[in-house]
């Protein structure tokens, strides 16, 4: 038995299929859920966190059905994709208020919340309003609320979305560390390199179906055959572009508002160089790195080709 077991699980939104006849067992440890936008990742995560009820089939989490079983949330933490908060609260107030819903008293809730903020390296800004947080901080405070009650299973929906390279690297390290400490983590992304940096165990999902389960490396070879687009929002985009032109893996680049968009043939090498650049600060601040899922879509089209 896995930490999450789905048996002919389907979910429809009216006429639209969100998840289609999925049967699988997720093992303990870190598992990556990889698929393009609209593939069904969030639907699957909402089903495994009991926010949605299966239209057909069944899903159990840690051996118990999750829908209508609130006691199971003592053992599960969920970090949703949406960038939504009670903006007027400070990070500490928000995490404290949420962990109080687990039934702990105020003093204990405060202690746990401070510990969780420390875990995601937000102690210094715990007393600032969430509305004043950067995108990376907002992502991490969401993780803090998911971890604050020390759950056995943590479900993270696109946790690295919109983070700058340094925070992204730190967050990946954190997630791996939580895995080493014995937590089971299910993390979704549409970027293979993010998942690959955390775990070799992946679930490939597309059009509501699980296409493949298992080792990431075979998929990676397929990905590398397709150019990968990276969108970098930065302080000095022209200086960055000049630097990128010297890289042999960069196939093309263009400017969009305050961003430079790069197409690379070797994303792993490019991301490594970009992180070094961000760390050195030589070419100004890199605010945000995102990747559209066009390249992954191409791989999925290849995988589902008859």
């Amino acid at each position: 038995m896995g930490i999450v077991d789905a048996h002919h699980l389907s979910k429809w939104y009216g006429q639209v299929i969100g998840l289609n006849d999925v049967t699988l067992s997720v093992p303990p440890g870190i598992t990556g859920l990889l698929g393009p936008n609209g593939a069904g990742k969030s639907t699957f995560m909402k089903l495994m966190t009991g926010q949605l009820k299966p239209s057909q089939g069944a899903i159990t989490v840690l051996g118990e059905p999750i829908w209508g079983n609130p006691a199971l949330y003592f053992r599960i933490g969920f970090c949703p994709e949406q960038d939504a908060f009670y903006e007027r609260m400070t990070g500490l107030e928000w995490v404290t208020a949420l962990v109080r819903l687990n039934g702990v008293d105020e003093a204990e809730a405060d202690r746990l919340a401070r510990g969780a903020l420390d875990l995601v390296e937000l102690t210094a800004v715990g007393d600032k309003k969430i509305g004043a947080y950067s995108k990376g901080m907002r992502q991490r405070v969401k993780m803090a609320q998911a971890l604050v009650h020390d759950p056995e299973l943590v479900v993270l929906d696109e946790p690295l979305s919109g983070m700058d390279p340094l925070v992204r690297r730190k967050t990946i390290r954190m997630i791996k560390e939580w895995g080493r400490q014995g937590k089971s983590i299910i993390v979704s992304s549409h970027i293979l390199h993010e998942i690959e940096a955390m775990t070799a165990n992946i679930l490939l999902i597309s059009q509501g179906r699980i296409l493949a389960e298992g080792d990431v490396h075979q998929i990676r070879e397929l990905i590398d055959e397709h150019p990968h687009t990276v969108h970098i929002r930065a302080e000095r985009t022209r200086a960055l572009a000049r630097e990128f032109l010297a890289y042999d893996d960069v196939l093309s680049l263009k400017f969009e508002d305050d961003a430079v968009v790069v197409e690379t043939g070797r994303p792993d090498v490019f991301y490594a160089r970009l992180t070094e650049l961000a760390a050195s600060g030589e070419l100004g601040v890199i605010h945000e790195v995102t990747s559209p899922d066009d390249n992954l879509q191409a791989v999925f089209r290849y995988l589902v080709k008859p």
Partner: protein
């Protein structure tokens, strides 16, 4: 151990009250609730400048004006409007702001979310409405012949209790509407400003399907009996006994909250990405 419904509701109340009090909705409805205060100030200024016509009635003009304001402005308009705007938003705001996920992935009964938010609604609307009534009382009652404020003070306390019950009843009804329907505000406004006045004017038992019918028996003020205005007001005056009213309002609160809690427990809320 899973916390009880009540203890979870109290924690949701703690989490929600500040958000509710300092929302744009509160600013907007604060202006609505401020309307009668502005009117009362205008009446006082008019009287001071000699413009206000002093009515020669058996009862002091100020007390009568205050009673009319309670009846027509607060009971008929402000209380239902507060109920609609806040009650329908208890769950809808969390859906619109996409923060419902955080509450529904905690080890609490989902019904605790609606109960806690309903308690926050009662405090928030009470803080908005009741000071307005008190200010209007002290500004309007002394108008004209200058009625004795002390003599009418028990009526003020009755009014505050009656308006509190009105908020509780409308809030419970609209909490259910908000939990159940996709466009709760429109339905709520149709109910409060369309169905309720229409049903009260209709002969027969339809008026028993309104909140206002049960609230009317608790209004401490008599309305004028003569003239067009009196006839108009009279149309609303078929009231049940005090006991029936209190039981009716208690049933509305209980059933409304039970239905809202049951809906939230069973319904899937799909948040937009």
């Amino acid at each position: 151990m899973q916390p009880s419904l009540w203890s979870s509701a109290v924690r949701i109340f703690d989490l929600s009250l500040g958000q509710m009090l300092w929302s744009r909705r509160s600013v907007f409805l604060g202006l609505v609730v401020g309307g009668p205060v502005v009117l009362a100030v205008a009446l006082r200024l008019a009287e001071a400048s000699g413009l206000l016509f002093t009515l020669d009635r058996p009862r002091p003009a100020g007390a009568m004006l205050y009673g009319m304001m309670i009846w027509l402005i607060y009971v008929r308009f402000i209380v239902p409007v507060l109920g609609v705007f806040y009650g329908t938003s208890l769950i809808a705001d969390e859906i619109e702001d996409r923060t419902l996920t955080y509450l529904f992935t905690r080890p609490i009964q989902r019904a605790a979310v609606i109960v806690g938010k309903y308690l926050a609604y009662l405090v928030c609307t009470g803080l908005l409405l009741l000071p307005s009534v008190v200010i209007v009382f002290f500004l309007v009652v002394p108008l004209g012949r200058g009625a004795a404020i002390a003599g009418l003070f028990p009526a003020l306390l009755t009014d505050l209790g009656m308006l509190g019950l009105g908020l509780a009843a409308y809030g419970a009804v609209f909490a259910f509407v908000g939990a159940r329907l996709k466009r709760p505000l429109l339905v709520g406004l149709l109910f409060a400003l369309g169905w309720e006045p229409a049903a009260l004017l209709a002969p027969g038992y339809l008026k028993r399907l309104t909140v206002a019918y049960y609230l009317q028996a608790l209004i401490a003020h008599e309305m004028p009996q003569d003239g067009l205005r009196g006839a108009f007001l009279q149309a609303f005056r078929e009231v049940p006994s005090l006991g029936t009213s209190l039981v009716g309002l208690a049933v509305i609160v209980g059933v409304g909250l039970w239905l809202a809690g049951r809906t939230v427990e069973r319904r899937e809320y799909v948040l937009e990405q």
